[in-house]
Symmetry: C2
Subunit: 386 residues, 2 copies
């Protein structure tokens, strides 16, 4: 079959590192081994199951409104207004689709022409670069050690958009007012879009999250993408949403119709009915997780592990700089020798090969600590002669 | 906002005609008007709701296996083997994702390089052309009056793939053994892929459907895409699947990870548990619908309405050639003046502006007849002086 021509872009796209290593861990577990899972980009809340029979399930068997159920758009529109001060018209400026992943892609596909450049900040969530490529754009990555303000050195005539992830996977960084203002000013002066992935918007201390949408009253150049996956702990339900101006939203909507249709209708009805309850159930659990985050951060300091600064989400981007190993080899050995699953940093950018991602969304505190001690031990065992 | 640059491809993509006109009809209905819906590309079966509590719903809150649940891949793999004689390895040659729509796109994005041409046959389901464009390819359309065998006149050095829809939306055509063999031979001699959208595979009389996959033992160049939406009547659940060789499947899988992740996990568990029951419940209803199809065909002959030949699916591509109206205007007037919703033919290709699509999946036989009489009356009322 080797003479068969395929897409060069597709050929160049690797498997998502976080999924790959999570699946390796799951398979080892299925074979009976006790694995500490610090790899999964997911949070495990205690959630009840409300009745499906009480829903209009016959309607659920069919396509929903192609923009997502009106009531669901109203819920998320109100939520963004109330929680983050970003107003939107749920009729024309909100699109609900099958997860925020595809909505980021729809945003990119709506604004990029072939060869347009998109600025990303390493560590950059793996799918951003790949989605830019799938949209025939060119990802331009700032290494992790560059300050956000150095973005100006990376702009060219071809730059069309910036993607930010706020709060940030994998570092936990929550963008400051000053940083967001600076990025918004850069976008304005250079006529760029900002695609803001805000999937972890409620995972911050003292509501420290600010949406860049708050700087852009008309949502002229900001495309907000968010999701019920993390904030409500239902990643498996595949419901995300985008908020932007009517023109861009219209382009995204048309693309969405030809690629997706809508999320699972029955689950939209479920979420519409139980939106406020789900928020009420998950908020205290998010608060508890942020306490674990703080404790984990303290523990890392105690045992001498470094990580990139951050205070939100349930991730740490932990340095393995002391080790002589590259991140993939480190992660593989950590899994095999210690039964601890993490994600290699190189999946988040070339500059990040001396980091691993540690997620604390799925394991209890004692097992997280045990996992981190294994990280320290493996660093120590593989130390380079300085 | 007019100085903002957007994607030229996205700007060029229209709203999906079938969804647009279905939504117009739904809105009129919501305002209390009795609308005969012959527009919706959907089938309304009588389906029970099995218990969700009996499912592993806690797992359902999280991402599933990124290829789709193993058991679901086994179900659809067995189904294709048993029903259509196409064998596949569920581990490496099957991908389950959020609907067949996105899987067709993933197939295209896996094989096309920018500027590659894809052959489509008019009437062509609207999203095919748009998906080819989104993948930076070029759709090449054969007008409806050309025989499939004329494909040879449309091949160029840039042709990379053929999309067929078998059984066919909107004509109901079921490709013959001879046609499929010819297409497969053309694909083989010209090193092309065939993306075969088989979403209506069970909507044929006397099991007359043949998968083109049956001609390609190694699935070297055939990418089969199918769905639970039509055959099981659960379009709102957004579960589709693809079957092809390991290499192409691998490319589709990687793209899928960066764009989709997986379908709604809880619904995958549901379908795994109730697959055979759902098949048993829907088969007799499909048979009944095919009887209605035959009756509708006879009725159209009686009243002098023409349509393209076909025997499967629940669609008719009805000629309005007697009318002086183009298809969009015809459909709008039919909706406003007669309360009958259909879809304009032009959405299926330039050559099809004197057709409308009539779907019989959602209305009882008497209302379908009433709708068709309205079509005849409007043709007659708008007749051109010959």
């Amino acid at each position: 079959m080797n003479n068969f021509v395929v897409s060069k872009i597709a050929e160049d796209i690797p498997e998502a590192a976080s999924l790959k290593f999570s699946m390796m861990a799951v398979r080892l577990r299925q074979r009976g081994r006790d694995i500490i899972i610090l790899s999964t980009g997911d949070v495990f809340f205690d959630l009840p199951l409300f009745s499906f029979n009480a829903l209009p399930y016959k309607l659920g068997y069919h396509y929903s409104d192609p923009r997502g159920l009106q009531e669901l758009r109203e819920h998320v529109s109100r939520y963004y207004q109330k929680e983050y001060g970003v107003a939107s018209n749920p009729e024309r400026e909100v699109l609900v689709s099958a997860g925020s992943k595809v909505l980021i892609y729809l945003g990119l596909a709506s604004v990029l022409n072939a060869g347009d450049e998109v600025i990303l900040f390493e560590p950059a969530w793996a799918s951003y670069s790949e989605q830019v490529k799938i949209a025939h754009g060119v990802p331009v990555l700032l290494p992790y050690y560059e300050d956000v303000s150095n973005i100006k050195n990376y702009l060219t005539k071809k730059t069309r958009a910036i993607i930010i992830n706020n709060p940030h996977n994998p570092s936990g960084k929550v963008y400051s007012h000053q940083e967001l203002k600076m990025l918004f000013d850069v976008a304005t002066s250079n006529n760029l879009y900002i695609i803001s992935d805000e999937a972890y918007s409620d995972f911050t201390l003292r509501k420290s999250f600010i949406s860049v949408g708050a700087f852009d009253k008309e949502k002229e150049r900001v495309v907000i993408v968010n999701s019920l996956s993390k904030n409500l702990g239902i990643s498996g339900w595949r419901i995300g949403y985008a908020i932007t101006n009517e023109r861009i939203l219209g382009l995204m909507f048309n693309l969405n119709q030809h690629l997706i249709s809508c999320p699972a209708t029955i689950l939209e009805y479920y979420v519409v009915k139980h939106f406020d309850e789900l928020v009420a159930i998950t908020r205290p659990q998010i608060a508890a997780l942020l306490v674990v985050r703080k404790e984990t951060e303290n523990f890392m300091k105690e045992v001498g592990l470094d990580c990139l600064p951050g205070s939100g989400t349930f991730y740490f981007f932990v340095s393995i700089a002391g080790s002589g190993l590259r991140s993939e080899e480190f992660v593989l050995r950590l899994l095999e020798e210690y039964g601890v699953a993490t994600v290699p940093g190189v999946g988040y950018g070339k500059s990040c090969d001396q980091f691993i991602r540690v997620s604390i969304g799925t394991e209890p505190a004692d097992r997280i600590k045990k996992g981190l001690l294994a990280v320290r031990e493996l660093i120590s065992k593989t130390k380079t002669a300085a």
